[in-house]
Amino acid sequence: MSGEVKLESRLNRTVFQALPSPQKLYVLIDIVPTGAGVAVQMPVNLGLVLDRSGSMAGDKIRKVREAVKLVLGRLSPQDLVSIVLFDDNVDTLVACQPVANLAQLHAQIDRITDRGGTTMSKGMRRGLDEMRQGVTPDRVSRMLLLTDGETFGDEDQCRQLATEAGQYGIPVSALGLGEEWNMPLLEAVAGQSGGVVDHLETPDSILAEFQRTVATMQGSVARNAQLTLRLVTGVSPAAAWRVLPAISQLNQRTLSDRDIQLILGDLEQGKGQSVLVEVIVQPKAAGAYRVAQADVMYDMPAAGLTGQHVRQDILVTLTDDPSQVTPFVADVMNLVEKVSVFKLQTRALSEAQTGNVALATQQLRAAATRLLNLGEADLAQAAEQEANNLEQQGQMSASGTKKLQYGTRKLTQRLDDLES
């Protein structure tokens, strides 16, 4: 182990009261590549799979051309790019190739125009076939899938292709433009491939989002990262959330009754990921204890390292003396609260879908209050509006749902991320 990845953990207090009942503790774990020993940027294998259906006409398709040209300018001849366009049919605009001749690539990009309907699986199939040629362990692959509408009758194929992409090591970054796209489908595509979904409210966001995706790929230094928590007897996991770079629930794989494993994937240089784990601690006598040992395993291909480990003990102190209980750790609590907002709106959405309008309304109002407390007036208003929509019409609006879903995920983003 040579210290390329820094592992730090904190609890929501440092000293807790020893209670006669089980209690919940929140553990924040930061996993950040520090850059020691890694100066080499990994080459990327970027696959752009772009919707050019009739609804993309005008500003949208113009902004797409602009964004594609811009990201190609950020790549170098060691990087690979492929560009696939889909409507009812599919065209390979740029077959998988090094980013060498920009003038020629720009001329091809200018040929992107709108036409036809939307059959997303055709684009994904072709895009995947192009990208597969460029997949190597020391190259960061990602498919950037952009769509503004529903695909017709091929949802199952899309899901299967996402699973296939995941098996090749190609996560899909799915970008939904506007309000008409199929949120559950893109969520499944991203989830099954190990990627992410984002919502672009207007075509003006296309450029920034393309840039962000490429910057994330270029910043990836550690790969295949996974966090294992070895819990001691009397401590059980309740839930695990990724909080940075954005909020999402982490699926936990139970290795044994005391070990859980969380798949983190790529880690970006200097940024990494932060994970919030909720654990239930059974009553223990006052004293200092280890709650768990955190173990992160990762590869660092540019440094020729695989199967590296970094470990840390997560310790807690329990006291019988109430005056020794320490105050809450403010920044951990702030993240706990942001996760609670994300949970609330996610739950409200599923309660609304199953017809439990009263509970969903209550959850949305609670989310609105909390968002206001967090200084997020815009999202708070959206939550309040959706609570009203539910009460008056029995359902939430497509635009409000997407705004809340993707807005609350980004509650934790660092300021420098927002500015870039």
Binding site: Q23, Y26, G234, Y289, E337, Q363, A366, N373, G375
Partner: protein
């Protein structure tokens, strides 16, 4: 091998904490198990473990910050800490704000000068309300930059007070309390305010935010 004094599991001599139960192993080398290291009491779910959310009645666990069902802030269910301990933050004294002076020459009649009022919280804190006509009641939060006029501090957090929970304001010579769509509710005496609703208050009335309570003197 080192034997854990709590659970008797064998541990590596270099281990700082027992791999099985997490107990500190410092000083455990070759020492007989002292009586004071008796295993912790078995879990007793009947004692304090059956808390319910004050808003929706769902089962919640100690230390849980937000109700999993309805999202209510559950600070009040965190371990109860007796007041006066080292844990409570230093009292926040609201500095008196100078009364604005209204010249007699003004073309407009001066608004009624606010008679100052006072909130005496049951946790011993006293808050002076003077110099303004509206006061925000809530909890200071440096992270989100929320600084209320009446900061209920950590006792407020424990009692489920929102950062922007309610406001006390004056219209004419009458004082009112308005709830700011708080999670855990605002009461005047025994009456709960509707979300964003307001109600007049008089000297001697009790104002309650979640489980935090204060007597109003105006």
């Amino acid at each position: 091998m080192v034997t854990c004094p709590t659970c008797n599991a064998p541990n590596d001599p270099s281990a700082g904490f027992c791999d099985q139960c997490g107990t500190s192993l410092q000083g455990a080398v070759n020492a007989p198990v002292p009586a004071s290291f008796a295993p912790p009491p078995a879990p007793n779910f009947a004692v304090g473990g059956g808390s319910v959310c004050p808003q929706c009645g769902a089962q919640v666990i100690a230390g849980e910050m937000f109700c999993e069902n309805c999202g209510a802030a559950l600070g009040s269910l965190a371990p109860v800490v007796s007041s006066g301990g080292g844990y409570a933050p230093a009292p926040v004294v609201q500095p008196p704000i100078n009364q604005p002076s209204f010249g007699n020459a003004s073309a407009f009649p001066p608004p009624p000068v606010s008679a100052s009022a006072q909130l005496s919280a049951t946790d011993g804190q006293t808050y002076q309300l003077s110099g303004k006509t509206t006061y925000l009641l809530g909890r200071k939060d440096d992270v989100s930059g929320n600084y209320p006029d009446v900061d209920t501090g950590d006792p407020g957090l424990q009692a489920g007070v929102s950062r922007r929970h309610a406001e006390v304001y004056q219209q004419g010579m009458q004082w009112f309390v308005r709830d700011l769509n708080s999670v855990n509710g605002t009461w005047v005496n025994t009456q709960r305010l509707a979300p964003n609703g307001s109600m007049p208050v008089s000297s001697g009335d009790s104002i309650r935010l979640g489980k935090w309570a204060a007597t109003f003197r105006g």
